[in-house]
Symmetry: C2
Subunit: 136 residues, 2 copies
């Protein structure tokens, strides 16, 4: 299986696959006689794992760790649990940050609808950020 086929199968594009290989998340691929990368079903599964973990926001370092442990024949259960816990915390933290941000932005949007366009010296939608800034 060549890189394009692998990419289509898993939903990851070829440059990204080559990138994963270059940073050691995927092992160096076997080659055909003409030098094309040649993949097997095992590679499909490994890339599927990487792709899923990435979509869950797991970083490449953690993924490399997990796969590395498994490659050495160890069950990386504890490590995975730790990654999961950290990830849940980080995502919840990020959500609450973004919710604050969203509230702030909608306040500005409402203000932007009530204020008219004006000259540079008058209160105006484009100066909207200044008074709010003063609160901080």
């Amino acid at each position: 299986m060549r890189i394009g086929e692998l990419g289509t199968a898993v939903g990851v594009d070829p440059p990204t696959i080559r990138y994963y290989e270059s940073v050691g998340v995927l092992p160096e691929a076997g080659r055909t006689e003409s030098g094309y990368r040649n993949y097997s079903q095992t590679d499909v599964e490994r890339l599927r794992f990487v792709s899923l973990a990435r979509s869950l926001g797991v970083g490449l370092d953690d993924i490399r760790q997990i796969l590395g442990l498994r490659d050495q024949g160890e069950a990386p259960c504890g490590y995975v649990r730790g990654v999961l816990d950290r990830q849940v915390d980080a995502v919840k933290e990020r959500i609450s940050q973004l919710e604050g941000l969203s509230a702030e932005l909608e306040k500005l949007q409402r203000l932007a609808r009530t204020l008219p366009d004006t000259d540079l010296d008058d209160p105006c939608v484009c100066h909207i950020l200044q008074p709010i800034g003063a609160q901080h």
Copy 2:
């Protein structure tokens, strides 16, 4: 006012201020005889605007646009409204993505608590991502 004082006043550290200057978000600063950057109250206000806009997730390109329009004597009201609208949409989109992600991660966390640590061949917390991956 030197760069450190400006930084303390606004809450932005000196390397970041120099970076903003280097990418054209802040104009080139005036200099003292000995070559130190020298700032005025106008610079404090401009940086305060930049800092607030950044904290609202507005990108440096948009900030440069807004300030550029203002520097040219135009009221960037329409542009600001557009940025605001795009920003609100992007943040809401991101929040709903993260909420889906959070639900997914908590499902995995629960599963990780019920599954025992096992050998590499058995269903195990470290293989937890595979079956969920199959759903996608």
